[in-house]
């Protein structure tokens, strides 16, 4: 226990330095969540006839709970296949959920009619990863932005519609707006297209914005501007923002709260600075060790020695996932209990939590048995 704490405490001294604004989640009083997911589960059924045994499926998301609050950004971090996009699509009700509940403004969502869904999407909008695919090449920018205005009844006349479309373009810094109105998506650069996609989401005047890897397809030098744009819009409209990314470093800067997913399970969460600077779950630690670090010049001589970096292997198949904690086959600290039971949520203080038996009250691992299990794994 102590050893892993030391890893975290020495680097935790960096928290809050550098003159960046303190995160809002660090305040004691939190606003009521606007959108909440409770024990969300999603299994994609597999086709094919099976005479014996239960039907198989891809267990993409297993017991995920999260809360999005107005004016707060939450990052969902994970590798490809970890289920982070599935979570976003479940939240947007693009996929029906297998189990679990969605609460919008405290009310459980039950309606499945298209009217109920449209009403829901008036408040919850999604931004997709690829701006080259999410805009229709056959339609002008004006068409893309005016449609949500019409569908949700925000514009009542043609003049008003045009005025609002222009205002939307200006909000996402596409100026002079008039120049863009009649253009087609192919005439814009990647960054401009993603701004149009953001403007389209804003047109509905949502309360929740789900951004699924909004900058991973963009060039490095323009990513930051798009991220800062999202942050500004979040602050202006007090949007609840879910930022899905595979880049945990950007979560540190961009999100108040960070949640880490592995193979469909949520393994750790809390204030971004705590999760990135004092990671507790071995998977989060592995993710952070593996991230490129320019301060570590010359990898050959200064490669960190950690049993975590020796962990070979890749995320498991979700058709037949390992029991218990899904990280246990790769975890150098795995104990017998990890193989059989899903670890409960352990609160670490200040809203930081993890699902790992290394920190559980029940098992109380000591330094020696962590070291032993690491050894037995190696041998």
């Amino acid at each position: 226990m102590k050893i892993i704490h030391r890893f975290t405490e020495s680097s935790a001294s960096n928290v809050g330095q550098g003159g960046m604004p303190e995160h809002s989640t660090q305040k004691a009083d939190l606003e009521a969540p606007i959108l909440e997911a409770v024990h969300l589960r999603k299994v994609f059924p597999l086709r094919g006839l099976r005479l014996f045994g239960p039907p198989r499926g891809v267990q993409a998301v297993e017991d995920v709970s999260l809360a999005l609050r107005p004016g707060c950004s939450t990052a969902l971090v994970g590798e490809s296949g970890s289920g982070k996009t599935t979570v976003a699509r479940l939240l947007a009700q693009l996929y029906p959920r297998t189990a679990g509940e969605l609460l919008f403004r405290g009310q459980p969502l039950t309606g499945k009619s298209s009217r109920a869904l449209r009403q829901y999407r008036r408040y919850v909008q999604l931004i997709f990863q690829d701006p080259f695919a999410s805009l229709n090449p056959m339609h002008t920018i004006y068409y893309h932005l005016s449609r949500p205005l019409r569908i949700y009844g925000h514009a009542h006349s043609a003049a008003e519609e045009e005025r609002q479309v222009t205002a939307l373009l200006e909000r996402v810094n596409l100026t002079p707006a008039r120049q863009f109105l009649r253009q087609f998506p192919h005439q814009l650069s990647g960054g401009q297209r993603q701004r149009v996609a953001i403007a389209r989401a804003l047109a509905a005047r949502p309360a929740v914005l789900l951004a699924d890897e909004p900058v991973s397809m963009l060039d490095v030098s323009i990513r930051l501007e798009v991220l800062n744009l999202l942050l500004r819009l979040k602050a202006e409209d007090r949007l609840a923002l879910l930022y899905i990314t595979h880049d945990i470093a950007s979560a540190r800067y961009f999100a108040d709260e960070t949640l880490v997913m592995y193979a469909g399970q949520m393994v750790e969460g809390g204030p971004s600075e705590a999760v990135t600077q004092a990671p507790r779950h071995p998977y989060t630690q592995l993710l952070l060790l593996a991230a490129p670090n320019p301060a570590r010049l010359g990898m050959a001589e200064q490669r960190p020695d950690s049993p975590l970096l020796e962990t070979r292997g890749e995320p498991p198949s979700l058709v037949n996932p390992p029991g218990g904690c899904r990280f246990h086959p790769r975890c150098p600290f795995a104990m017998p209990v990890c193989r059989t039971q899903v670890p409960p949520r352990t609160e670490l203080g200040n809203g930081h939590w993890t699902r790992c038996y290394l920190y559980g009250e029940s098992s109380k691992p000591t330094c020696s048995n962590v070291a032993r299990s690491a050894q037995s794994k190696e041998s």
Partner: protein, 379 residues
């Protein structure tokens, strides 16, 4: 590190012929690669980095044409030349005859392509694709020896030899990329061009592959031209880095110089465009605007419309690479700010002040210490 040059690129330009005139994708690029060195080539999409690599390997097809320049390969001095001399004359790769080129490719210079998924043939086993190289280049080699060499190569990159009979779709993304590296190593080349070898992979797998490449280079002593858009990654693994913008090299330096003392405003912007995980949170400035359209390049320095430090000369004259100070010998920058004859405005502290460099060094040393402590304490 040996300082002997193995490859020298001299004033290479590549044009893409198009209906609206030639597009200069690579414009007068020169650099040299030392034996055993890892040379990083960084730039955004459209900066010409991949085109340059393909030009070196002579893989460009019309409409791309190499309009000028030389790519000189210096054979190993130990190996006696044709006329028995100890130091054979350099060979211009761009002027090799087809049969010489066939011998040069793969035996001397091999390429690892970006997408392992597309670079491997889906209907041939991994083993067949490795022995294909051996059959083509060493027809005299007995079939059994070829099989053994293929198995040896797979073991070299960390795949068990029984995977020889596997098809690409049976391997994970990381293993496919390893297999590609194994094929590139088949004839023990002196130079390997790696074009975004880890871009499509998750960070943990990326880290494994990079560690593998570094270890193999230690053992086999090849040189690498490493192309990526991820500057933070380059800073960590390379010896020398060249930053490309709109077809030209704007700055070249050792990775330490580049990280501690970037000279070109574009490099400075890039370094402040990606979030960092370690150390205090820095404020990120980013770069306004977006990369230029190569068809209509801005006059003078192509970066000037996005540059906050531009002055009169920037719009008129294309800057050439020059050494900014007498102390930084390996660092060259193409920026008028460092050309005293043009009377540039005063440099802001970040780009010119050496005191900042010292502070950075101290900070770095501190970080490194605390970093080491963190990692050892994981045991």
């Amino acid at each position: 590190m040996e300082t002997e040059t193995v490859l020298e690129v001299k004033h290479v330009s590549v044009d893409y012929a198009s209906a609206s005139g030639a597009v200069h994708a690579v414009d007068d690029v020169s650099f040299s690669l030392a034996r055993g060195q890892i040379f990083g080539l960084a730039g955004e999409s459209g900066s010409g980095k991949s085109t340059l690599a393909y030009a070196i390997a002579r893989l460009l097809r019309p409409p791309a044409i190499v309009t000028q320049g030389q790519v000189l390969y210096y054979p190993r001095p130990g190996a006696a030349g044709k006329n028995g001399k100890n130091t054979p004359a350099p060979v211009d790769v761009l002027r090799l005859r087809p049969e010489e080129l066939r011998a040069f490719r793969w035996r001397t210079l091999s390429i690892v392509f970006q997408s392992a998924m597309n670079a491997l043939n889906p209907v041939l086993t991994i083993g067949a694709q490795i022995t294909d190289v051996l059959r083509a280049h060493e027809p005299a080699m007995p079939r059994k020896a070829q099989q053994e060499r293929a198995a040896e190569l797979l073991r070299l990159v960390g795949i068990s030899a029984d995977r020889l009979q596997s098809y690409p779709h049976e391997l994970s993304g990381g293993m496919r990329q390893r297999a590609i590296i194994a094929i590139a190593l088949a004839l023990n080349p002196e130079i390997i061009i790696m074009d975004e070898p880890t871009t499509a992979l998750d960070v943990v797998v990326q880290r494994e592959i990079l560690a593998e490449i570094m270890a193999l280079r230690e053992r086999l002593g090849f040189s690498v031209i490493f192309i990526t858009h991820d500057l933070s990654l380059l800073l960590e693994i390379t010896d020398q880095i060249a930053i490309m913008y709109a077809g030209r090299i704007v700055e070249t330096a050792t990775q330490q110089q580049l990280y501690r003392q970037p000279r070109h405003p574009y490099t400075y912007g890039l370094l402040h465009s990606f979030p960092t995980l370690h150390g205090p949170r820095r404020s990120m400035t980013g770069i306004p605007g977006s990369p230029p359209n190569l068809r209509v390049l801005p006059s003078g320095c192509a970066f000037h419309p996005r540059c906050s430090l531009r002055f009169g000369a920037c719009q008129a004259v294309i800057p050439t690479l020059l050494t900014p100070t007498s102390t930084a010998q390996n660092q060259q920058v193409a920026c008028h700010l460092y050309d005293a004859s043009l009377h540039p405005p005063h440099l802001p502290g970040e780009l010119g002040n050496t005191q900042i460099e010292q502070i950075d060094n101290q900070e770095l040393a501190l970080q490194r210490e605390s970093g080491n402590e963190n990692h050892t304490s994981l045991y």
